[in-house]
């Protein structure tokens, strides 16, 4: 086998240069549709956004669109509403995502190797496939003040009803809760795959040695799981910045700014209340930078060059 490949390479050598050039042309041809798509659909809007972020463009006002320098960016720091929504987005990242990680990993460990594993896995994955909008609808019913089942469950324990959407803390709880319900299965899916890839002989060996469940997890499973956890965590962090549909369908960012996420505030400023495009672009650009930082982290963690064998040979 080895001999034959070497022979092959030798045979090809004289024509290599022209083949390379021809190959390159084909390669470029193949990659062209994707590049054009991204250039037209994402880069052009991006340039437009940078440009408008320096103007006061507003669709509800005539005669706007003048260059106003960095004013929009300074405005962000003086706008309690913008800071409030950045804060809520941070809450999603810092509270919901860790909870998703813990439950997701835990559920994988719980069902691993017991009767009914396949069924449990299937059922748990369902909520991941559901559009966020549908979650919003069911939350409106479940957390209704007078007819909702959430308050009904509380009443069974003698707790009087809670105005879920009427208090900052409970409204935030509802949104975070929905996010956990929708995305924990995603964490589970990835970390569970990691769990399955732990070599069985290692587990058996540890059991023979009389390792406790915790020792088994810490010493055998976790080392394999680690890279899976990183991948899941970072993808989730980036996606958590996009939270929008559930808020749109339930609290509309309220009460006050309690549940207004960054994406939602941009929508409110830029679309829903009068198309203040200049300011919305500045806000969007900051969001873009935040997610770009996370994406770069992801690429490093995935060790992109190696996992996908992208480095040029030789």
């Amino acid at each position: 086998m080895e001999e034959s490949t070497i022979a092959l390479e030798n045979k090809n050598k004289p024509v290599k240069n022209s083949v390379r050039a021809h190959d390159r042309r084909i390669a470029i041809l193949f990659i062209l549709p994707a590049v054009i798509l991204f250039l037209v659909m994402a880069i052009y809007p991006f340039i437009y956004m940078i440009y408008t972020s320096f103007t006061n463009l507003n669709l509800s006002m005539s005669g706007t669109g003048q260059f106003i320098g960095l004013s929009n960016y300074f405005e962000i720091f003086h706008d309690p509403l913008a800071l409030g929504s950045i804060w809520f987005s941070a809450m999603v990242l810092l509270i919901a995502v860790p909870i998703e990680m813990v439950i997701g990993i835990m559920f994988g460990l719980l069902i691993r190797g017991i009767k009914g594993e396949r069924v449990f896995r299937l059922l748990f994955l369902i909520s991941m496939m559901i559009p966020g909008i549908v979650f919003g609808i069911s939350a409106q019913m479940i957390f209704n003040y007078l007819f909702g089942s959430a308050n009904y469950f509380l009443s069974l324990f003698g707790i009087s009803e809670i105005a879920w959407f009427g208090h900052a803390a409970t409204a935030q709880f509802v949104i975070l809760f929905l996010d956990v319900i929708q995305w924990t299965p995603f964490i589970f899916l990835i970390t569970y795959a990691g769990l399955l890839s732990v070599p069985q002989d290692l587990i058996d060996a540890a059991k023979v040695d009389g390792a406790s469940r915790w020792q088994l997890f810490a010493n055998v499973e976790f080392p394999t799981l680690k890279s899976f956890i990183y991948i899941a965590l970072i993808i989730r962090l980036i996606d958590a910045l996009k939270i929008f549909g559930k808020i749109y369908m339930t609290t509309w960012g309220g009460p006050g700014m309690a549940t207004s996420s960054w994406s939602f505030y941009i929508y409110k400023v830029g679309v829903s209340y009068g198309w203040d495009i200049g300011y919305a672009s500045a806000l969007a650009l900051i969001l873009l930078i935040a997610s770009a930082v996370l994406v770069n982290l992801l690429i490093k963690v995935l060790n992109l060059g190696e996992t996908l064998e992208l480095r040029k040979e030789g």
């Binding site: 052009y44 369902i126 559009p131 069911s138 993808i235 919305a280 996992t307």
Partner: protein, 274 residues
């Protein structure tokens, strides 16, 4: 003896915890499902009805849902197949010719991560100028961005699994690069294509924000947008709304669960083989 008791109790606790978690996580789905079958008198009751006492199918005669269902089907399937084609081609170039290297691939993945709200407004302004507002084509084009981005990654990981010796062998046999692609690579990468099709379909089906900004009526609006405009209405008809919600969530659940094995690789950009 004592030890066996303990392990039995632990097992029961384990099942109890699993079932409790499942109940909480499936409750929203359950509630949508039962409300879809409840007659009007049961939408808002105290105590709430935990199953429809008088089940009805009347809610499914949702007025005017068909155009939205059609739009969702057209846009999602078009995105699914086009993104599979574009990403297969791009992935072939990257996997076999190492074109662009890490930089280009990194750029592609960042497109998948782009928060939709950031491009929504500029795209709106552009779409007005080129008359793509409220059209299928307009929606298909925007939804190709995230799907092609992750599609490329997924395809690269699949193509890397096809031994390079195979294309070399075909090449030596006198096949051109294009013939190699068509007769060797394409048949072997079909499961990758399927993964991209499935995931693109599910993602596009659920997408909401860009559709809500870039469409205006039943000519192009998709199901989630149709659902989205009801909650702020005067009269919330929970039954028909839940029925529409059920219709919206069934296809992605069915497809997602049937093609479960493609999910992991798709969602992790090929990094986890599953």
């Amino acid at each position: 003896m004592n030890k066996r008791m303990v392990s039995r109790i632990l097992k029961i606790v384990r099942y109890a915890v699993i079932i409790l978690i499942l109940c909480v996580f499936l409750f929203p789905v359950y509630w949508i499902t039962i409300t879809a079958f409840k007659p009007m008198s049961e939408w808002n009751t105290w105590p709430p009805h935990f199953w429809p006492f008088h089940p009805t199918l009347a809610n499914f005669a949702v007025k005017g849902i068909l155009p939205f269902l059609r739009n969702s089907l057209v846009v999602s399937s078009a995105v699914a197949f086009i993104s599979a084609a574009i990403s297969l081609m791009a992935a072939y170039a990257i996997s076999r010719y190492k074109i662009g290297g890490t930089g280009l691939a990194g750029w592609f993945i960042s497109m998948r991560m782009l928060p939709p709200i950031t491009i929504a407004i500029p795209l709106y302004v552009i779409y007005v100028k080129i008359h793509l507002l409220n059209t299928w084509l307009g929606l298909i084009l925007v939804y190709l961005i995230p799907t092609v981005a992750f599609g490329i990654w997924v395809m690269i990981s699949f193509l890397n699994e096809i031994p390079k010796e195979l294309d070399e062998a075909a090449y030596v046999d006198g096949a051109t690069r294009l013939q190699t692609f068509r007769h060797v690579i394409f048949p072997l990468s079909l499961s990758g294509v399927a993964a991209v099709v499935v995931l693109s379909f599910v993602q596009t089906w659920s997408a909401f924000l860009l559709a809500t900004v870039l469409t205006s009526d039943s000519a192009a609006q998709t199901l989630p947008v149709y659902l989205g405009r009801f909650v702020t209405g005067y009269n919330i008809e929970w039954g028909p709304l839940a029925a529409a919600g059920l219709i919206t969530m069934l296809p992605p659940i069915a497809i997602g669960l049937i093609f479960q094995r493609y999910l992991i690789r798709g969602l992790t950009f090929g990094a986890v083989k599953g």
